[in-house]
């Protein structure tokens, strides 16, 4: 029987095992030392690995990212924690401008084996500056990989792959899944390749493609619809860049109907990209237009519970969009 743990424990286990395995892996971020990180991802690390490998950084995100880039260029494997994804904007210069271009701009002479971990997402009453989804900004960037797991099993396996990867990886962890999502996770070494999606539930009437917290909402929607005799297939992207287009298209070839679901706001989001790819590659397979269910196009997720709920692609919205898709 495998231990049952939550997402933050899986993240912690992955880092701990990788740090024990590889002396070049180290942690840098705000409050990652004695405090163990504000979400406790690095709880106990400074005691176990020492201050040289668990570095409490001054409160300067761009510096954290830039110094991590330099250390990675020199051959170390930094895991830089950006405390909230909302604070990641100052690092874009380093992650998008520098890390993602280093291999290309030096003909492979240097590369950046760096992981930037960042808790993202809402429905945690985080307001405008502690709730946002940032994946679309980064997924646009060739040279970068973007990962967003939804379960403890995927979080551990993908974080290990991210740490071992020779290119920069943005590893996004949904805050609300940290303690609310639990699952079986082997305490042995395993990894999940970046760029592989996972069918979380099989079905033949329609496909919902999603990632992160909304995977769990999609699973709830599928259970509701099952009682009506409708079988929904749920594809968990797990990696946003590179996208596993094969798994998406395989699913659409079974169901002929596709809904893309994400918490990030609609316009220019991952749903738009997937929709374009499926339209180009598998138009003949479709029995209905591809539909999207996503966060509202407002500047950020608001604080008041009513407004926060109104932002989210809720179970009700998912069910409504899925029914529309099925009825087309």
């Amino acid at each position: 029987m495998m231990p049952i743990i939550n997402v933050i424990e899986a993240v912690r286990d992955a880092m701990k095992e990788e740090m024990a395995r590889d002396a070049s892996v180290f942690i840098m971020g705000e409050d990652v030392g004695k405090r163990g990180g504000v979400f406790l991802a690095t709880q106990g690390f400074v005691e176990e690995f020492g201050e040289q490998r668990v570095i409490d950084m001054p409160l300067a995100e761009s510096g954290i990212a830039g110094i991590a880039v330099g250390a990675a260029m020199a051959g170390l494997r930094p895991i830089a924690e950006i405390q909230f994804a909302d604070f990641i904007s100052p690092t874009m210069n380093q992650i998008v401008g520098e890390a993602a271009r280093a291999r290309y701009g030096t003909k492979g002479e240097v590369h950046v084996p760096m992981v930037v971990r960042s808790p993202y997402g809402g429905q945690v009453r985080g307001g405008l500056f502690h709730s946002q989804s940032v994946e679309a900004y980064f997924a646009h960037t060739p040279g970068l990989k973007v990962v967003a797991p939804s379960t403890p099993f995927d979080a551990k396996g993908l974080l290990k792959s991210a740490i071992r990867d020779n290119d920069p990886v943005l590893f996004l962890e949904h805050k609300r899944t940290y303690r609310s999502v639990r699952g079986e996770v082997p305490n042995t070494d395993y990894s999940i390749p970046i760029g592989s999606a996972d069918v979380k539930r099989a079905g033949h009437d329609a496909t919902i493609v999603s990632y992160g917290l909304t995977i769990h909402y999609a699973l709830q929607a599928a259970e509701v619809l099952e009682k009506e005799g409708i079988q929904i297939e749920i594809v968990d992207l797990r990696s946003i860049r590179p996208l596993d287009t094969e798994t998406i298209i395989n699913s659409v070839s079974k169901t002929s109907r596709l809904l893309v679901l994400h918490e990030d706001n609609l316009t220019g989001g991952i749903g738009a990209e997937i929709s374009a790819i499926v339209s180009e590659k598998a138009f003949d397979l479709l029995d209905a237009p591809i539909m999207r269910c996503a966060g509202l196009d407002i500047p950020a997720m608001p604080f008041a519970p009513t407004l926060e709920a109104a932002y989210m692609p809720s179970l009700e919205k998912i069910l409504a969009t899925t029914r529309k898709l099925l009825a087309y």
Binding site: G70, A71, M73, L76, T106, D167
Partner: protein, 337 residues
């Protein structure tokens, strides 16, 4: 630290002539429509060559993070005229970026330098990360990072210097202050007199020296190198240099500088200054000098010929070096296009 002897000065002068002649050549190639962009090192050469001289003598090993004006550092680190000209003409075989980047941008671990970015100042945190890695890996490397006075305004430089100071990292910050950020004069960039004055805010030593004086550059850089090597931490050095040419070949400095200002700049030409020093020491004469110039020109002429004849990189190579092993780039490209 110690006085450079006449033979060493003559060696530096030889390299300086090579760098200057090469710089003049790339301007010519630009005006001929062959080189797309030129940013000049003229006026900065003593700071660049004198600092590398100190690093190579006083550090057990060192690595340079350079910026776009550092042709002198690149040549001192082993980039040949052929390498440089392949870069300016963006030709196949360009050794540090395969001509993906602007001239003098890219990296060579073997030659010990990197100039990744054009976004000024972004490389300063990289240098600090590189120095952090040296400390963690217990390597004797001193990291030197060069940047201009314009870059000195970037917030990332502050973040990087602050962190390096806290952890006493083996890095030296080298500001080549030519008083102009493209068109904006230093008085509109900062309210203090010297960039190096900022050092005290980080709790590290800061020095401002005449960056056209090879001995001053050597002394202060040697001192900072020794300090870094001994685990005492970083130093901020400001070399006061001159830029008497436009910012780049695309700039028109007559819109913001007076002829008199430019003339005054030229009077602090580091090449002329070193020449006068060598003449006063009696180790240079017309015969030696014309021989040095002739040799430099010969090297540069044959390198120009080679670079002009070289083909451009193959268009098919555009997808190389996106990710490790290229697997994802190519697969994704095939899948999505």
């Amino acid at each position: 630290m110690r006085e450079l002897d006449p033979e060493e000065l003559l060696d530096i002068y030889e390299t300086m002539i090579l760098v200057r002649t090469l710089d003049e050549r790339v301007w010519t190639l630009n005006r001929q429509g062959k080189a797309a962009i030129v940013a000049s090192s003229q006026g900065h050469e003593a700071a660049q060559l004198g600092s590398v001289k100190a690093l190579s003598e006083f550090a057990e090993s060192y690595f340079c993070f350079t910026y776009y004006r550092d042709m002198g550092v690149c040549v001192a680190q082993g980039l040949t005229p052929k390498d440089v000209l392949l870069g300016f003409l963006a030709k196949e075989g360009e050794p540090i970026s395969d001509a993906r980047q602007f001239p003098l941008h890219g990296a060579s671990k073997e030659k010990g330098f990197m100039n990744l970015s054009n976004v000024v100042g972004t490389h300063v945190p990289h240098a600090v990360g590189w120095a952090l890695a040296s400390k963690i890996n217990k390597l004797p490397t001193v990291t030197a990072v060069y940047f201009g006075d314009g870059a000195a305004s970037q917030g990332e430089i502050h973040e990087a210097m602050n962190f390096a100071a806290i952890h006493k990292l083996p890095v030296i910050f080298l500001c080549e202050n030519n008083r102009y950020a493209i068109s904006v004069p230093i008085e509109q960039q900062m309210a203090i007199t010297n960039v190096a004055d900022r050092a005290q805010a980080y709790g590290i030593p800061g020095y401002t020296v005449d960056g056209t004086d090879i001995q001053q550059v050597f002394d202060v850089t040697a001192q900072a190198t020794v300090r870094a090597s001994e685990g005492e931490g970083p130093t901020l050095i400001e070399y006061q240099v001159e830029r008497y040419l436009p910012h780049t070949s695309d700039d028109d400095d007559s819109t913001y500088r007076t002829p008199l200002d430019i003339e005054k700049s030229k009077q602090r030409d580091p090449l002329k200054k070193l020449r006068d020093l060598l003449l006063s020491k009696g180790v240079l004469n017309d015969k030696i000098e014309s021989e040095l110039i002739k040799t430099a020109k010969q090297k540069i002429n044959s390198a120009t010929e080679f670079a002009e004849k070289a083909p451009y990189p193959k268009a098919d190579d555009v997808l190389e070096h996106v990710y490790d092993n290229n697997s994802i780039s190519k697969d994704q490209h095939d899948a999505n296009h």
